[in-house]
């Protein structure tokens, strides 16, 4: 017997080996399209491209925190502090520029640096002291909501700061009336974040390390991967993204509100998970997260177009749609798995 015949594997379809991990995201995209077609069939003006563009206008900050959250969840952790960090960042922008008189670009840099530093700190606590991510970041959730309220317990306007006009500057793609749409600069910032995240996750050692740590932290450690750097890194990225989302929110409204973004962390987690990322870590895609955010936005849009639901029916319908979506996604994914074996 030669060495070559050692492993007698029936030649299995390589196609499916490669494709199975795309099933959840594929299902998400297919269902997203189904939702869109459903909207088209039922509502007037739903065919306006602005309906889709709008998903990336209003959800730009959500997209950014969800991208950060994707890193954390892929590594097997969770970050509950994003909503509060985001609100804090917006408030800090306002405070720095309006009250402290710091120039806006500098304020922006300070805020982003601060978000990253916070991520580094909490990541270090999680890694070196083995504090559970849920708890460590829950501290952040409380702390930054508290600090935001300490800065100001009312909303603050930044409209006088010219710099913040930049974010909502429209880029027109044709006239709305002729079936065109527009996007503000801040949507492009969100796109850029997605692209960078995609490249980092899939094409750098750090990114692959995130998957490895999420797959099995102890194995990654024994394989000699830089576990500490990776784990702390993902929280730093999430902190940065949360701060950036706060800045985008500042651009979007030119105001800061101490009670903004309560529960945003749950929206972000939901978007990530709907996008097919496993909460246990190690499996998922940034583009899935984009799809997840779009689903989230699309469900809200459908409810808005429907428009005759009372507050409670709106919630129930949202829950039912989400349920239907998740079950369908699950069924599609399952039949995909079946075909594999």
């Amino acid at each position: 017997m030669t060495a070559q015949t050692l492993t007698e594997r029936p030649s299995r379809s390589k196609l499916f080996d490669g494709l199975t991990r795309y099933i959840p995201i594929g299902a998400t995209v297919a269902l997203l399209i189904a939702l869109y077609l459903g909207g088209l069939a039922n509502y007037r003006n739903f065919d306006s491209p602005q309906v889709v563009a709008k998903l990336f206008i209003d959800n730009a900050p959500l997209l950014v925190i969800a991208v950060g959250m994707t890193f954390v969840i892929l590594s097997g952790g969770i970050d509950l502090s994003v909503g509060s960090v985001m609100a804090f960042s917006t408030m800090a922008c306002a405070w720095l520029t309006v009250d402290a008189g710091v120039s806006a670009p500098l304020a922006l840099v300070l805020v982003l640096a601060f978000g990253t530093a916070w991520g580094l700190l909490i990541g270090a606590v999680i890694h070196y002291f083995h504090v559970q991510p849920f708890i460590a970041t829950l501290v952040g959730l409380f702390l930054f909501r508290g600090l935001t309220l300490q800065i100001s317990d009312t909303d603050v306007s930044m409209r006088e700061v010219g710099f913040f006009q930049w974010g909502m500057t429209h880029v027109d793609f044709g006239k709305i009336r002729d079936g065109g749409f527009w996007l503000p600069y801040l949507s492009f910032v969100a796109f850029a974040v997605v692209i960078i995240a995609f490249v980092v996750l899939h094409y750098t050692r750090f990114g692959r390390g995130v998957y490895a740590v999420g797959g099995s932290e102890s194995s990654a450690l024994l394989m000699g991967l830089p576990v500490a750097r990776t784990k702390i890194g993902v929280y730093a990225i999430s902190g940065f993204c949360a701060a950036l989302a706060g800045v985008l929110a500042a651009f979007a409204t030119k105001s800061a509100n101490p009670l903004a973004n309560v529960g945003a962390e749950l929206d972000a987690i939901a978007a990530v998970v709907i996008g097919g990322t496993l909460l246990t870590g190690g499996a998922g895609f940034v583009l899935g997260t984009v799809a997840g955010v779009m689903v989230w936005g699309m469900l809200n849009t459908l409810i808005a177009f429907q428009g005759n639901l009372s507050s409670w029916w709106a919630r129930i319908v949202m829950g039912v749609l989400l349920l239907a979506f998740i079950l369908l996604q699950r069924i599609l994914a399952r039949s995909g798995e079946k075909r594999r074996t």
Partner: protein, 309 residues
């Protein structure tokens, strides 16, 4: 409708109105939503009311307004969660030629041009009304008036304004008062009660003159706590609440509280009139106050049957 009106939306008779509501965070708010929805349904000048509940989130509310713009509704009604941050989206509405009416809360003065009119309550005024009653009632309280305050959700506009208005008047009237404690009860009965319980164990109730609760729910929760501690609310301690729901008035009739500053959510019909005026391009006042009153112990009984929520 019997005659065809200005319908520029595309041939439907009647107006399509988009209403971006704050949320459903309190009984007051739900009453408000119901009132608007019912009024729209009953009103044959209105073809359709698109209602969106933003769950107290400004971003969701902005999203809702943008959705209304895409849907090309005739009028947008906005009950802003916060005062600031509306410039862009209201500008978009203006660019799309859709008039905006504010309901309930207001927005910052600099954006005044971006909406046609505002219909709603004035929280500072509510605070002032409460303060005026307190100032007269305790004017000759020799040893100083000791006050407990149950604030609304920290950072929310009604909480901030009702506090400001109240103490503004007390200061202006030169009342000799002391804030014994002031905590947030988040506008809910649950927290109102638990904070009050803690007030009682920490400070005792002897010597406390007045409880000022920023809304009904917290006030009713506090009344529970006071009763359970073996005191008589309304007698051992005077109580002011804002809002004036049925339950609040009922407590008043039972003698458990002393003063109610109304904050009226039932302005659906009033709102529809304004909306139609705006759609027809009639000129309207920049601010239309909702009809609201203040009630003391002598009026509770008579007013109770009129309460709608």
């Amino acid at each position: 409708g019997d005659d065809s009106d200005s319908g520029d939306g595309g041939g439907g008779d009647g107006l399509v109105v988009g209403f971006a509501q704050v949320g459903a965070e309190s009984a007051w708010r739900t009453a408000n939503s119901t009132s608007v929805q019912d009024a729209a349904a009953a009103d044959d000048r209105i073809a359709e009311l698109k209602f969106v509940d933003a769950q107290q989130d400004q971003e969701k509310q902005i999203e809702a307004v943008r959705n209304f713009i895409t849907q090309q509704v005739d009028v947008i009604v906005l009950a802003p969660v916060v005062e600031t941050g509306w410039t862009d989206v209201l500008q978009e509405a203006a660019d799309a030629g859709i008039p905006v009416v504010l309901a309930d809360r207001g927005i910052e003065a600099a954006d005044e041009d971006l909406y046609v009119t505002r219909l709603g309550s004035d929280f500072v005024a509510e605070g002032r009304s409460a303060g005026e009653w307190a100032a007269t009632t305790f004017a000759d309280d020799a040893d100083g008036t000791r006050i407990l305050e149950l604030q609304g959700t920290t950072g929310s506009a009604p909480a901030n304004d009702r506090k400001t208005g109240f103490f503004e008047v007390l200061d202006a009237e030169g009342l000799n008062y002391e804030i014994v404690d002031s905590q947030s009860g988040n506008f809910t009965a649950e927290e109102g009660k638990s904070v009050m319980e803690t007030f009682i164990t920490t400070h005792g109730l002897d010597g406390i003159d007045l409880l000022y609760a920023h809304n009904d729910e917290m006030g009713l929760g506090a009344i529970q706590a006071i009763e359970e501690a073996g005191f008589a609310p309304g007698t051992d301690i005077q109580i002011i609440i804002v809002d004036g729901s049925k339950a609040g008035f009922q407590a008043g009739v039972d003698g458990k509280l002393n003063y109610i500053v109304e904050c009226n959510p039932v302005f659906g019909e009033q709102l529809m009139d304004v909306v139609v005026q705006v759609a027809d391009g009639e000129s309207v006042e920049k601010f239309t106050p909702v009809e609201e009153g203040v009630f003391d112990a002598t009026q509770f009984e008579a007013e109770l049957p009129n309460r709608q929520f």
